[in-house]
Structure formats: structure tokens, C-alpha cells
Symmetry: C2
Subunit: 115 residues, 2 copies
Amino acid sequence: MIEQTLPAAEPLSCCPSLTMKPLGQDDAVEFARLLKAVADPTRLRLVSLVAANVSNEACVCDLTEPVGLGQPTVSHHLKILVDAGVLDREKRGVWSYYSIKASTLEKLAAFLSPA
Amino acid sequence: MIEQTLPAAEPLSCCPSLTMKPLGQDDAVEFARLLKAVADPTRLRLVSLVAANVSNEACVCDLTEPVGLGQPTVSHHLKILVDAGVLDREKRGVWSYYSIKASTLEKLAAFLSPA
């Protein structure tokens, strides 16, 4: 076996796991930011409402009534979710339509799954 | 088929999913609290250090140096993780030993997995 003399490579940002090995500071900051984006009851409800909509997408106009909040507040929460990559936004006409970005939820679930 | 005339049962607290159906307020509050507990870079690193320890447990004395923080600060973060059910704590002699509560991470990963 050839001895590895090169310094260990930086952890790949591909698929870090919380419980596989000590987490580097960069991954810790990245996942903390993502977790913070969803660590709010209203934002969790908005994500679930978008996912549950028959067309798999929703506009602000579909979401204000179920969460009982005004449009500016709902738009603020949606922006946080889009910035974190949890939701995708597509502008069509006067409305923006939001859909689930499944790859981000998959990445987060894989990260948290116990090794 | 017998028509269901009873009111729909409350969602079981067993295994709610973020993207299966609209999330109830109680589940949203519960999962937001759990997510907040781990949505911090230092707490993520502490969880990963506990998991990576050879004995699958660690005391505060094992954790202060790797995260570069004093014992009171590390103890404060560990308390938040224990209160959220992410870590278990067992007192033996003068030290408390922390281990991963895998069921909580499993529940959180299952909750976030896209349907």
C-alpha cells in the first residue's frame, strides 16, 4: 500500500453527513444557515402548502389565507425560503409561482440521517 | 365503501412529513423548535464530534478544545441539544456523558425527505 503523504483533501461539499465524521466549520455554517431558513413554524407551513397544492406550485395569493397572514409577511417568508434554496420561484405575468426544490430537502435529510 | 362521516382525525404525531400534506400548527411548532436547536454551527459541530468519538459518547472535557470555546458555553449548547432530544445525557461520577439520540435525527430526516 502506498503511503498517503499528501495533506488530506478538504471535505467535499457534495454530501456531508452530521454523524459520519467531525463537521468542518464551512459545512457547519452552510447547514446552520439552511436549517435556520426552515426553523420557523410559518415557513414550514408555507413549504407544506406549496408541496400539497394540486399543481405542485403556489402563488402568494394561494398562501395568505391558509396561514392567516398578510401578503407582505408571507412574501418575506417566501423570500427567505427561495434564498436558502428550499423553494424555486418563477415569475409569470404579475404573479410569482413557488415550487419545492426537492434536491435541497434531499440534501438536508441525507445530512441529518444518523450514520 | 363506507362513507367516512366522522371528522378527520388529528394528524398523528408519529411521522409527520413536510411535503405530504399541509402541516398542522402543532407539528409546525414542534419541528420548528427541533430545527432551531440544530440550526447553529457550533451545535452542529458538537453533535458531529459526539457522534465521531470512538466510544460514541463524549463529555464536555472532550469537546471544548475542538470547538475552541469555554466549558460554560459548550455546556449551554449541549443543554439545548439535550432539551431538544438530539443528545442523551448520562451522569457518571463528576462528568456528564453525551451520546446521539438517533431516533430524533431519524424523525427529523424523515420529516424533511421530499415525498
